[in-house]
């Protein structure tokens, strides 16, 4: 039986996490199909068809799927799901919203945030904020899972030529309605897939001071993140939060500025390849996991670092 991956997209571009999820699917063995459900999402379907390793792209193009409302999308995926061995989605806010609903409609469990494939029905996933790793075996006929993108290598975006098939079924639960959204506009790379991430904590002292990090990030081509302490203090928006309750990132370089290193935060970034910590408190726990620690006043060190690059 084939594997179905649910594409994450905004009706214009396919999100990078989809490629990592396809990377996880490739480890399972078997034909891989990719579902693109949205509205006027032809461009996404074309991008999906170009991914080598995807044999078929299923396109559900209808108004009811425009905003990825879980009520409608879950019915669609569950209706398709019975003929697949695995249903996988990236563990972003869209996948987390959708997949448990799909699983319950199919009367099967859902495995959240898998970080390793042991066998086609056995997976590794973090529990207790990443302080333990569980190996879990599914006993169900269909495996429904969300995939932590940073734990799997992405498939290349180009080089394939999958068959594209349109789905005509329109599932409309009629119980929820999209009202609006406020998305942060930024030219910086996405936090979840950036090669370099610069994050700030309570040590920044204010939202205005995050401009220091933004300047540094722009020089490095990096995304900007924040600790929960900085979010709770109202310095920045919650979608910038890196940690157990925010985004999980694993960039090549993670620069933690004015972040003490609470367990909550470490759970979101400790798999980064190289970690740099800049903090004036030499005893801060972040130094215990940092590859390079600099005990310094961030208001002096960050501008100096930016100039030195």
């Amino acid at each position: 039986m084939a594997i179905l991956v649910i594409a994450e997209h905004d009706n214009r571009t396919l999100k990078g996490a989809t490629l990592n999820t396809l990377g996880a699917a490739a480890l399972l063995g078997g034909e891989v199909h990719l579902l693109v459900a949205g509205r006027s999402c032809g461009a996404v379907a074309a991008q999906a068809a170009a991914i080598p390793g995807v044999s078929k792209v299923l396109v559900a193009d209808a108004a009811v799927y425009e905003h990825q409302l879980a009520e409608n999308l879950a019915r669609l995926v569950a209706a398709l799901g019975k003929t697949y061995s695995h249903l996988l989605a990236p563990a972003g806010s869209a996948g987390k919203n959708l997949m448990p609903r799909v699983a319950a409609l199919l009367d099967v469990a859902q495995l959240s945030d898998i970080v390793g494939v042991v066998s086609p029905n056995t997976f590794r996933r973090p529990i207790y904020a990443g302080n333990a790793i569980a190996t879990v075996q599914s006993l169900d006929p269909v495996v429904v899972a969300t995939v932590r993108a940073s734990a799997f290598d992405p498939l290349p975006a180009e080089g394939g030529s999958a068959v594209v098939e349109s789905l005509s079924a329109v599932h409309d639960a009629g119980t929820s309605r999209f009202v609006g959204e406020e998305l942060a506009k930024s030219d910086r790379p996405e936090l979840g897939s950036a090669r370099i991430v610069v994050s700030g904590g309570r040590g920044l002292g204010s939202g205005e001071n995050f401009a220091l990090l933004e300047t540094l990030a722009d020089k490095l081509g990096a995304a900007v993140g924040a600790s929960r302490a900085a979010v709770d203090a109202g310095f920045v928006a919650n979608d910038m939060q890196v940690g157990q309750t925010g985004k999980i990132v694993a960039p090549e370089l993670y620069i933690a500025v004015g972040i003490s290193g609470a367990i909550q935060h470490l759970a979101g970034m400790k798999d980064s390849k190289v970690i740099v910590a800049i903090n004036k408190d030499a005893e801060a726990p972040i130094f215990q996991i940092a590859d390079y620690g600099l005990v310094a006043d961030l208001f002096e060190a960050v501008p100096e670092l930016e100039k030195a690059l």
């Binding site: 009520e71 919203n97 448990p100 469990a109 075996q137 406020e182 979608d239 400790k270």
Partner: protein
Amino acid sequence: MKILVTVKRVIDYNVKVRVKADQSDVDLANVKMAMNPFCEIAVEAAVRLKEAGIATEIVAVSVGPSACQEQIRTALALGADRGIQIDTAELPESLVVAKLLAAVVAAEQPDLVILGKQSIDADNNQTGQMLAALLDWPQATFASALALQEGCLEVTREIDGGLQTLSLALPAIVTTDLRLNEPRYASLPNIMKAKKKPLEVRTPAELGVVLKAHTRLLKVEAPAERQGGIKVGSVSELVEKLKSEAKVI
């Protein structure tokens, strides 16, 4: 409006867990337990709706052994009116919890169920969505604001990249994110009063739910420890190391 709110007994968020030597699970013996932080936010959200005159009754539900009555009492002290413990020897997996809750919803007929978005033990983030599927109700996960608008519930959600607002027909399911509210502490008089509030115990058999296992936990390991590195003396040394040693810039 009648609200059902769910509470889970979990390890206190300040406690660092340890994996058992035989790798069968984490060691919870003699560890401080508390209400899951996202459930505290759910209870607070329900209580605020009652204080605003929108909710008329709040029922707090927990699934687990009798020890979880402690967390139900906490919810009662915070402002819930009565409690229901669904008595299970162990903590069932999310789908089973959702089925047990669906049976309670069928009996109680609430207009709104508020749950935490995830528990800090299993970190699953599933039960609310599963309950919504089983009831065929609309869902708003990761809520950061709630408002009642002309008979519909308008919910602002924290999504990747920003905020999304949905309008849900009632009855509906909401799961809470961190910024929905800041939970209050229970006052001593309210803790005393909570002891007299009704707390009913139901069994899965009474609710007609079979505790089926859909997954098997094979092993629990400690994560690979990250070794600390070195301290550098200056910004220029840091840049030098990143360029020539780590080769990441």
